[in-house]
Amino acid sequence: MIRLAWRQFRSQAALALVALAALAVVVAVTGANLAHLYDTTVAPCNAGGGDCQAVGVSLLSTDLSLQLVLSAIVLAAPALVGIFWGAPLIARELETGTFRLAWTQSITRTRWLAVKLGVVGLSGMAIVGLLSLMVTWWYGPIDRVSMNEFQPGVFDARDIVPIAYAAFAIALGITAGLVIRRTTAAMAATMVGYVGALLVVTSLAGPYLMPPAHANVPLSSASDLGFDPGPTLVAGAPDIPNAWVLSSQIVDGSDQAPSQTAMAQFIQTACPKVFGSASQVGGQLKGPADATAFHDCIVQLSSKYHEDVTYQPADRYWVFQWCESAIFLGLAVILAGVSFWWIRRRV
């Protein structure tokens, strides 16, 4: 049966391999260039200990369109194998009636499904895995500068999670095809189901997969003064390298969130230059004098308030990679189980 499954699948697999090989050439050439750029600009600057923002930004803006294309490819690849390989795999046989030919040869339909699922599932995981490997390597220098490994579009496009996404998408496609029995409808259902599951799991994983860490961060320019409705402080995004910041809020010395009125009163007394006059309109602070007043004000406020940040620290990156992979592989196994049950009982 494995030879038949391969015979039916080989042209699609060949097409994917050709595309992957072509991409590999592009990635190898431009990736080597990117690595060289990092080694000659960012690395010496970091070693020197100066301000490396300029060289970093220059590296981040190298091959910008290729960056977008590679991200898009590795993000879309699991969905594509689910939609174009998984969904039609059984649905097309049901639609054209060829399942009646296959199921009346001398092998059971269970084995038929197991082999097809195995061949296409493992091929899809392998192709997406190779793709993710290439893109992860290519993005290496950029990721070391941008320090945002948990960011959506980065975390889910690196290392091992795309492989688990592919396994899930293919199992979803096969099951949808088996249940719906129509190729195009199964493809649509796979796309919707895949995107939905991805959104649900990734949004729940951050706060609930592991208890997030807390950090006290002093107020900085990242915290904004504002006038809504009175003078107030709004927590900005703190800069913790490679962390996944889930939330941040202004708290006082006893780690309690202050009430709006308490905060407004304190700001007005601490920052008379900024907020003393009633003529302020629209929260616009202008001119060098105001900038100094702003800075002084933040210093004053920092004595009483700081930011409380909930986040997943950078060293949990691989825990999250493995956990999320395990979740999607688990879902894939459940869907495969459903498809075996369905093919024996319901078709």
């Binding site: 049966m1 030879r3 038949l4 015979r7 039916q8 054209t96 009636g97 060829t98 009646r100 030919l101 296959a102 199921w103 009346t104 040869q105 001398s106 092998i107 059971t108 084995r111």
Partner: protein, 297 residues
């Protein structure tokens, strides 16, 4: 005598509709069995149950003494050609033979290649490019070369032109003669079956109406033509299958194993087609009896 197909109280329901109900039958081995009935009568359902493509809702079915859903050993013994003779459009004729090798331990590749050559099919041709007749022949070749004891063919010739029909049936008869395989062949046309079948099952409106060897069916059914009389006053051993009346004359199609003694009847032979049509008409009458009896009296 072993039965190739034995069913008892067999039924299959889809939602609220019974596609096949209360089917009890025993078909002896070594026959070419015709399964005839109008479209939607349940022929395909019965064949799918026998091939193990469907599980019954009620009752039991045995094929060659085993249960159809009983695993690879049972699948090996039954060859099946589905309606519309599906093949893989993207695979070549040769690929289909390879498929046969891969999936069937008992595959007879010499037989398969010989048949493909006799049919002058190009092994490199994609199956999707074959004509309907060629496709049916390819599907039949696949079913035969797995060397089954029973061949189930679901309307294999319905979509073929007359020449392709004849070639298909000739090929089938050669296989039956050479391999001694039992065959169950369905069709909604009696004419197709009459030439090749020894045994007939008439299936109408999800129920088996009559089944038996064709010779015996023809010997036990008679058309009686005589003066008009009430069908209710016929001898008990004569089952009336179909009755039509004019003012003066009654024409009855009766089933009986006894000779017809009543001299007032003119007794005629019944053709197989008339016999089948009479059984088909009987169920139609059962559904609409009040209206029709008005018209006929």
């Amino acid at each position: 005598m072993t039965a190739v197909l034995r069913a008892s109280g067999l039924g299959k329901r889809y939602g609220r509709n019974w596609a096949l109900s209360d089917c009890t039958i025993s078909v002896p081995a070594g026959q070419v069995v015709g399964l005839v009935g109008p479209n939607g009568a349940g022929k395909t359902t019965l064949l799918h149950l026998a091939a193990g493509l469907l599980a019954p809702t009620s009752g039991t079915i045995e094929v060659l003494g085993g249960r159809p859903l009983d695993g690879p050993a049972q699948l090996r013994r039954v060859g099946f050609v589905a309606q519309e003779t599906p093949v893989y459009a993207g695979l070549s004729v040769a690929d289909h033979l390879r498929l046969g090798v891969w999936l069937n331990p008992g595959w007879d590749n010499d037989l398969a290649e010989r048949r493909i050559e006799q049919l002058s099919l190009d092994p490199k041709q994609k199956a999707g490019k074959l004509s309907g007749g060629q496709r049916a022949q390819l599907a039949l070749t696949l079913a035969i070369a797995k060397r089954p004891q029973l061949l189930l063919l679901d309307e294999p010739i319905a979509s073929l032109d007359p020449l392709a029909r004849r070639e298909f049936l000739q090929g089938l008869m050669v296989v039956v003669a050479e391999q001694g395989v039992s065959v169950v062949l369905s069709s909604h046309l009696v004419g197709d079956l009459e030439r090749v079948c020894d045994y007939l099952i008439v299936l109408v409106a999800s129920r088996i109406q009559v089944a038996g060897e064709i010779d015996q069916l023809l010997a036990s059914h008679h058309r009686l033509i005589g003066p008009r009389r009430d069908p209710g006053r016929m001898p008990a051993n004569q089952e009336i299958i179909q009755a039509s009346h004019t003012d003066r004359q009654s024409t009855l199609l009766v089933r009986t194993d006894e000779p017809i003694i009543d001299p007032s009847w003119a007794v005629e032979q019944v053709s197989l087609e008339d016999l089948v049509l009479a059984y088909m008409g009987r169920t139609a009458d059962a559904d609409r009896r009040p209206a029709l009896s008005e018209v006929r009296s």
